[in-house]
């Protein structure tokens, strides 16, 4: 990491941590949501569908503002979380992860839902006649067969998380070492006099990360499909 200044390394590692936590925590929720959306009809289904897709169409700044209004330490929900559970999202890297997780949630749900829908329902019927119950069928059949979609969704969401700017800066501000992720660091470098070189280095990292992400997704998809016998 000799190529980077300590503060730049810090921003890179923070970005990776924020994105990993964001995707990791959102993934199980995204799987559950995708299952509910793809298989079941229930009241309020279209409302839920709209809510899930809201971050895709809403300006990220608005998302960040909403989070601040709800989870700020002086707001009812945020205050309750802080006093009773000791959880603080505002102005903390966990808040950045939460914002990134929510913003990229639709990517995950969409990819997983498409993958679940593409699993042949006939296979599930066959498993049923062979004695498999609903959970058994989901974990041994549907989920493994949908795995390429799940992984693709997670990688896309990870890459998008790395680039999240508006929601993070609005909700948790731009605190070096705490919430200053890669895009925020680039922005700060460009604001400072003589920061062009630092900005260029950080941009290069962002490009390399994005490219690696896309290639990784491609490779993972190929290998998983081979393993699944497609």
């Amino acid at each position: 990491m000799a190529l980077l200044e300590p503060a730049e390394t810090e921003a890179l590692l923070l970005s990776l941590r924020v994105s990993s936590v964001a995707v990791g925590c959102a993934l199980p929720v995204a799987v559950a949501t995708a299952v509910a959306m793809s298989r079941r009809k229930f009241p309020g289904r279209s409302l839920l569908d709209g809510l899930i897709h809201l971050p895709l169409v809403l300006p990220p700044v608005v998302m960040g503002y909403l989070l601040l209004v709800v989870l700020g330490t002086r707001e009812p929900v945020g205050g309750w979380l802080l006093h009773h559970l000791g959880i603080r999202f505002a102005f903390s890297w966990t808040g950045a992860a939460l914002a990134a997780g929510i913003i990229t949630f639709p990517f995950q749900v969409r990819a997983i839902r498409l993958a679940l829908d593409s699993v042949d329902a006939g296979l599930s019927q066959a498993a049923e006649t062979l004695g498999a119950g609903p959970l058994d069928r989901f974990f041994n059949l549907t989920l493994p067969l949908a795995l390429p979609g799940v992984v693709a969704g997670a990688i896309t969401a990870f890459a998008a998380s790395l680039g999240e700017f508006g929601a993070i800066i609005t909700f948790v501000s731009n605190i070096p070492g705490e919430t200053r992720t890669l895009p925020l660091a680039i922005y700060s470098a460009l604001q400072a006099p003589g920061g062009e070189a630092a900005a260029a280095r950080l941009c290069t990292i962002a490009i390399v990360l994005a490219l690696a992400g896309v290639m990784l997704a491609e490779q993972a998809d190929k290998r998983l499909r081979a393993a699944l016998g497609r």
Binding site: Q125, A126, E128, T129, L130
Partner: protein, 363 residues
């Protein structure tokens, strides 16, 4: 070992109303597509819930609308072989085979597994993924997988329909062996008369959601009404025979049956083996008097049981040959000239006999 099926269901523009039993051996559910065959199979397996009715497997009620019983598919112990095999693509052949086996108690023993693997010729395929199997191999794996789940009834839904003629010829002997070995009732869904003629013991003919006819394959396939009910071309007759003698000097084998003996080209089977033979209706000529000096080897005395004359240029005549039923198709002109009537004694000249395989005919 039996399954009692009595179901009704109203679809848009189509009503299903079926009432029949499936006993030991192979019961074919026969009829054109859209007759409701697969719907009935799915109802038996628990994959479809009819509006009303009752289904009992070996005396255990698995579905009864009056009593409010619906046993889910996973608890019905139905071995279901789907038309498209439906193997799990991410599992090896062996894992596929053991999928149902692992989920049932009591399980088949390792020796029984080895037997079924051997019976269906799967030994060399165990580590392969389904994507690396041919269509015929997939069907055999699906069959073995269903058998290994220790089912109380085996449902085969057009297992050959997706295969080409060569693959069909490959699978049919396995199915025949299975019929002769398996002790569980088999419900064989098909719209192909030849498969039914080769495999089935009993026949349920379905038309527009209703049972139009049912009976033994030997009686029903040769009935003149058969083609009328099914709308299919008349098939001919299916006869259960036993290898009676070999005549090596003439290169012939004599097959004994209720109506006498049939001479066929020399077969490898031992004397006493049960064989099912098929005779196409077009391959049977009729004579008023016993023909002399004729090249055909098989001339059988018979009595006319029934005549169907409502065909354009042909007449189908069902013969009673010592209890065995043989169908003959002659022209309307011949019928008029010879004035055949039910009860008449005639001679059936059989030009060609198709011998299938060493399948024991459970007549």
């Amino acid at each position: 070992m039996s399954v009692a099926i009595r179901i009704r269901h109203a679809f848009a523009g189509f009503a299903l109303d079926a009432d029949f039993d499936v006993g030991p051996g192979v019961t074919a559910l026969f009829g054109p597509s859209g007759a409701g065959k697969t719907t009935i199979a799915n109802a038996v397996a628990g994959l479809f819930k009819p509006d009303e009715g009752r289904i009992a497997v070996n005396g255990r009620t698995v579905f009864d609308t009056r009593a409010g019983v619906f046993v889910p598919a996973r608890a019905r112990r139905t071995g279901y072989v789907f038309q498209d095999a439906r193997l799990f693509p991410h599992m090896s052949v062996e894992t596929n085979l053991r999928f149902g086996w692992r989920r049932h108690d009591p399980r088949a023993s390792e020796a029984e597994i080895a037997h079924i693997v051997d019976l269906l010729g799967l030994g060399a395929l165990m580590t392969r993924k389904p994507a690396k199997l041919s269509g015929g191999e997939k069907s055999r794996v699906a069959l073995a997988r269903a058998l290994l789940s220790s089912p109380e009834i085996l449902i085969l839904d057009e297992p050959l329909a997706a295969l080409d003629a060569a693959r069909k010829r490959e699978i049919l002997p396995y199915l025949e062996r299975l019929r002769d070995e398996a002790r569980i009732p088999m419900l064989y869904v098909s719209h192909a008369a030849e498969e039914v003629a080769r495999l089935a013991d009993r026949l349920i003919v379905l038309k527009n959601g209703r049972v139009a006819a049912q009976g033994s394959v030997f009686d029903l396939m040769s009935a003149p009404e058969f083609s009328e009910i099914t709308g299919a071309a008349p098939y001919g007759s299916v006869i259960g025979t036993i290898v009676a003698a070999h005549n090596d000097a003439d290169g012939l084998t004599m097959l004994g049956f209720a109506g006498g003996a049939l001479a066929v080209t020399r077969l490898p089977q031992a004397i006493g083996t049960n064989l099912r033979v098929r005779i196409h209706a077009e391959d049977v000529m009729l004579a008023r008097e016993e023909p002399r000096a004729i090249s055909a080897n098989n001339v059988l005395p018979a009595r006319i049981a029934a005549i169907r004359t409502d065909l354009e240029s042909h007449a189908d005549i069902q013969l009673d040959c010592g209890g065995a039923r043989i169908l003959a198709r002659i022209t309307q002109a011949s019928l008029k000239r010879l004035a055949f009537a039910p009860g008449d004694g005639v001679f059936a000249i059989v030009k060609s006999v198709t011998v299938d395989s060493p399948g024991a005919s459970k007549d």
